[in-house]
């Protein structure tokens, strides 16, 4: 059993701490610093976040996605065939992203996230899990002006991102997470999703983790068990129904137990986390549990995210101790 996070982390500290990243972005917008200067700020904040996650008791950390404009732009700006366009809302959040537009043949021209993974990995005392936005989610959050056919765009993205996953594994990532919240908003496209996953994970030599969030997988389970991954991450907060859904068939993978609400400041208790772990052991052995927040923590104030991680770690300790 491991404690982990889903990916993103608040970039801005709670006031009155100085928001270096925020100040950096504003200075860049005003032309007072260069991209390279901002990158150094991002380095510092990334190291701070890696240290913070480890300090709060997280065993498998991420780099907090401090460098990501959002989950879509970060990858599509590194791929052939995309331009980045106007603002769109990210699922049901009050967070906006610039919509990538496929204007040509999608292709992988070189590593996108590998340097950032390597930086994080060399500055972390804990194993770092790189996160990649999945081909299906990228496609549904993009606009297609080239293929005229969602299947083709998804499959082209899957082939391109397969090379990214291989490059991450080559760089030493022992576990790789792919995020596919988009699947839950477009459940009727599961056959396409399934085909994309085959291409995406082909020949990737690392532990393969697939995460969904912002909802439940009713209607997709047990079909999701056919996807060639080792860990399936589920949201048990927005998707509380997952507790019932998992009863429908024997769970054959490791389980990402998204149990701490990444979308609300209301604080969980260690007892509730321990209880959820116990409940989950009805489906998988404790050794196959990856306990974490329900989604990326970016939606929370920094101090609340820290306390939630503490509660998470305390809950897992309590589970191990067998206390109530």
């Amino acid at each position: 059993m491991k404690t982990t996070v889903i990916g993103s982390y608040p970039k801005i500290p709670d006031p009155p701490a100085p928001g270096r990243w925020r100040a950096g972005v504003e200075k860049l917008q005003r032309g007072e610093i260069t991209r390279e200067d901002l990158r150094r700020v991002e380095d510092e904040v990334t190291v701070e976040v890696l240290t913070e996650m480890a300090g709060k008791g997280i065993e498998i950390v991420t780099d907090g996605q401090i460098r990501w404009e959002d989950g879509q732009t970060y990858f599509t700006r590194g791929l052939d065939g995309f331009s980045i366009n106007g603002l769109q809302r990210y699922f049901d959040t009050n967070v906006y992203y610039r919509q990538p537009t496929a204007t040509g043949e999608v292709g992988w021209r070189g590593p996108i996230s590998v340097a950032d993974y390597t930086f994080a990995s060399t500055h972390s005392e804990r194993p770092v899990k790189p996160v990649v936005t999945g081909p299906f989610t990228l496609a549904v959050l993009s606009r297609d002006e080239f293929y005229g056919n969602r299947d083709q765009l998804v499959m082209a993205l899957a082939a391109a991102l397969n090379r990214e996953l291989k490059a991450l594994a080559q760089a030493g990532a022992s576990v790789i997470q792919v995020d596919e919240p988009g699947l839950l908003a477009h459940r009727d496209h599961f056959p396409l999703f399934r085909r994309a996953m085959d291409v995406l994970w082909d020949g990737v030599d690392a532990q393969r983790a697939l995460y969904t969030y912002f909802g439940h997988i009713d209607g997709l389970y047990p079909a999701l068990l056919d996807v060639p991954v080792d860990v399936l991450g589920l949201d048990f907060v927005a998707g509380a129904r997952n507790w019932d859904v998992l009863r429908k068939a024997k769970f054959t993978k490791q389980l990402g137990l998204g149990i701490v609400d990444a979308r609300n400041t209301k604080m969980e208790t260690p007892a509730a986390v321990a209880d959820a772990c116990r409940r989950a052991t009805a489906f998988v052995p404790a050794s196959h549990l990856h306990v974490g927040p329900s989604a990326g923590l970016e939606f929370l104030p920094r101090g609340v995210a820290q306390r939630k991680l503490e509660v998470l770690a305390a809950g897992v300790r309590r589970f191990h101790e067998g206390g109530a």
Binding site: K11, E69, G86, L87, N94, N264, T265, K266
Partner: protein
């Protein structure tokens, strides 16, 4: 005959650099609240004058006193930790200040209950429904106070309304019923981004006179949606992309209005940008709005021939 194709804006305008700097200083406690207020008032007056000069019909105060998002992603998000209620009027003072500066009508600007609930953390209410309806009652009181102060136009923004259309669009409708009940002012709701076709025609059930929508952003593709069933409310027709640096041309604006008039009858059409313009520069904002007013004037002229 009443003026046709009245022009207005969605609410926010860019803050001058001096005000942004003052806000930073105030946050660092290097500038008093009174000094900040003086600058906010000066900036508000500047925007009232600019709107008059550009020739807009229904004005806004420009929201010089409100905060901004960082990188389109971050804002200080409120958390509901106890029962919500209104202690005193919130927006009436700014509205009155702005209205005293001009003979043209200034819109009262409120955020709708569904959006406030959706974009806040909720640590108190067991369900979103309870929070939304409680907020609706408070916002209704605010709208009544605006009307008593003299506001003839009241805008209640619901940009989050299509967040969970299947789950709780009815709740948003029920909440707006509470907000606008018994008002005699002309009411508007601004809805932006997201999947508008998915909440059409259900959105026509919202208890407001006008729905203010972003058309330009998708090059008026929404007009197809509004052909059938017919758009039965007034529309605030977004003809300027609020997030591009380029100023539209008057021809482009006029063309958008002409295309709309094939789908929505003339008396129902108001002309406006897609969204608040706070992320543009002052120059960009003035250039865009000038083109909007000029484009609208051309269509008015054609129609009067």
């Amino acid at each position: 005959m009443a003026q046709i194709l009245l022009t207005t804006t969605v609410g926010s305008f860019p803050k001058p650099a001096s005000l942004l700097e003052a806000r930073r200083k105030h946050a660092r406690k290097q500038l008093s609240a009174e000094e900040l207020l003086t600058l906010e008032r000066r900036a508000t007056e500047d925007w009232i004058r600019r709107q008059e000069e550009i020739g807009l019909d229904i004005l806004v105060d420009g929201e010089m006193y409100r905060g901004d998002m960082v990188a389109n992603r971050y804002y200080p998000k409120p958390a509901v930790v106890r029962p919500v209620g209104r202690r005193a009027p919130i927006t009436v003072e700014w509205w009155s200040y702005a209205q005293r500066l001009t003979p043209r009508p200034v819109k009262g600007m409120l955020t709708g209950p569904y959006t406030i609930a959706e974009w806040s953390f909720n640590e108190h209410y067991p369900t979103r429904r309870e929070l939304v309806l409680e907020l609706a009652r408070a916002i209704h009181d605010e709208a009544v106070d605006l009307e008593r102060a003299g506001a003839r136009y009241i805008q209640i923004d619901e940009p989050a309304i299509h967040t969970r259309p299947d789950e709780d669009f009815d709740l948003a409708v029920e909440a707006m019923d509470i907000v606008t009940k018994g008002l005699s002012a002309y009411t508007i709701s601004h809805i932006c981004y997201g999947d508008v076709p998915r909440i059409y025609p259900a959105m026509l059930r919202l208890a407001v006179d006008q729905l203010d929508l972003a058309l330009k952003n998708e090059d008026f593709a929404l007009l197809d949606t509004f052909k059938s069933p017919r758009f039965t409310k007034d529309i605030g027709l977004g003809v300027l992309d609020a997030h591009s640096h380029r100023a539209e041309t008057p021809d482009e604006v006029a063309d958008g209005i002409r295309r709309t008039l094939k789908v929505i009858p003339l008396p129902q059409v108001f002309v406006t940008p897609d969204c608040g313009l706070k992320t543009r520069t002052t120059d960009e904002t003035v250039a865009k709005l000038t083109a909007m007013v000029e484009g609208t004037r051309r269509v008015r002229e054609e129609l009067s021939r």
